[in-house]
Amino acid sequence: MANIKRSPWLLHYDGSSCNGCDIEVLAALTPVYDAERFGVMNTGDPMQADIFLITGGINAQNQATVKQLYDQMPRPKVVVAVGVCACTGGIFKDCYNILGGADTTIPVDIYVPGCAARPQAIIDGVVQAVELFQQRSDEHDALVKQNKEGREK
């Protein structure tokens, strides 16, 4: 059960957000907040990511993309919905093309509310996600071990 929570790599996807939350997400990486001190890396590649950071609501066009990005990420993985639009659909909730928050398409673990979510809130959400990531990893390890023992018997 190695300590893997020291190395959370993020995948940031902008759903149909107004870009307010996206700018705050990038702000979390600037020298003022410096998320890299927790080992956070913002990668653009789902195959290398551990935490899926999604901003903006889900609409008819991006639903398939969000689902595919989630499926391309190797287990264990955690999803964080940043901003009120990603949580519930927010101000766009009643629009004809909006299906709702990110949880209409993929299982969301952490909700970070706010319009726009503040960098402090985003970092707090990511830190909580990291704890969950460690927990999932331990469960994943236990499962793999159990399978191996089962096969040996």
Partner: protein
């Protein structure tokens, strides 16, 4: 003598990942300080690799693992031959063969981003290969041998005769280490126009293999820098380590203070520097002798 060689090879195989990982940790910390950030812990690269090994393996092509493993073995072989004091020309040939496996590991996935990255990796090889081969020729002209152990135990440091070759080698080191402005095939920094280029389709275990191979390769390349300084006196070992650290710092500084260039610019400048520095040095060596 053979026991000594065996010990050196074993030390390289066991210690190179540790040294390489630490060097990368220093790199990331220094880069962060240059950008006025706190930066990750020194051991961050090790945390990353351990995590990558523990994640679920998703491979687009099953051949990729095998190709990356071959790349790793080839680079270990290169370093082991080098630190064992074997033929330097042979070391570079084995290294180039290994690099070809990396190209195949990226291109088997047929992902557009990985393919563009792989093609750029080939262009990078085209850019650095002349300077690397000329460095071998330079060592031969000065010392009369390709043997690393004999070059390292000569009376005078090779850099006294080969300053131009040294400059050309440091220039192409930026390409070889995939540092900005020549990080065209894949980048250590977060985003680039072709996602992660060469490593786009490498996840979890495969990416960890790639990273460990890079550590082995960096330790080998730093060793070649040291060979320019090393001579028969023991003090030169200290000088070599100092020069290696200075060159490594220079690479980090260049990485943080320059923007990525296009590949044709990379080929033009690297060949230009190679012909100007190493070529003129070669002419002088051949005329004076």
């Amino acid at each position: 003598m053979t026991v000594q060689v065996f010990a050196r090879v074993l030390a390289y195989i066991l210690l190179a990942p540790l040294v390489g990982g630490l060097l990368e940790g220093i790199d990331r910390k220094l880069s962060a300080r240059m950008q006025r950030r706190v930066g990750p812990p020194l051991l961050q690269p090790f945390y990353d690799v351990i995590k990558l090994f523990k994640k679920q393996t998703i491979a687009v092509s099953t051949a990729q693992s095998f190709l990356l493993m071959t790349y790793l073995v080839m680079i270990i072989l290169t370093g082991a031959m080098y630190y064992g004091g074997s033929d330097i020309l042979m070391c570079f040939f084995v290294m180039s063969t290994g690099a070809t496996f990396l190209y195949f590991a990226a291109i088997v996935t047929s992902s557009p981003y990985a393919t563009v990255g792989a093609n750029r990796e080939l262009l990078q090889m085209v850019s650095y290969e002349p300077a690397v081969l000329l460095a071998c020729v330079g060592f031969y002209l000065v010392e009369g041998t390709f043997s690393v152990s004999e070059i390292a135990s000569s009376r005078y440091s090779a850099i006294m005769y080969l300053p131009g070759f040294f400059v050309a080698f440091v220039y192409i080191l930026t390409i070889k280490m995939r540092k900005s402005p020549f990080d065209t095939s894949t980048s250590h920094h977060m985003h680039q126009e072709i996602v992660k280029g060469l490593t786009t389709e490498m996840g979890s275990k495969n990416l960890a293999l790639f990273q460990v191979t890079e550590w082995y390769e960096n330790v080998f390349l730093m060793g070649v820098i040291g060979l320019f300084i090393k001579n028969s006196s023991p003090i030169s070992t200290v000088a070599a380590i100092l020069v290696i650290l200075v060159v490594y710092f220079l690479e980090i500084l260049i990485d943080n203070s320059s923007a990525r260039v296009k590949t044709d610019m990379m080929i033009k400048t690297s060949w230009g520097v190679t012909i100007l520095c190493a070529g003129v040095n070669l002419l002088v060596l051949m005329l004076v002798r």
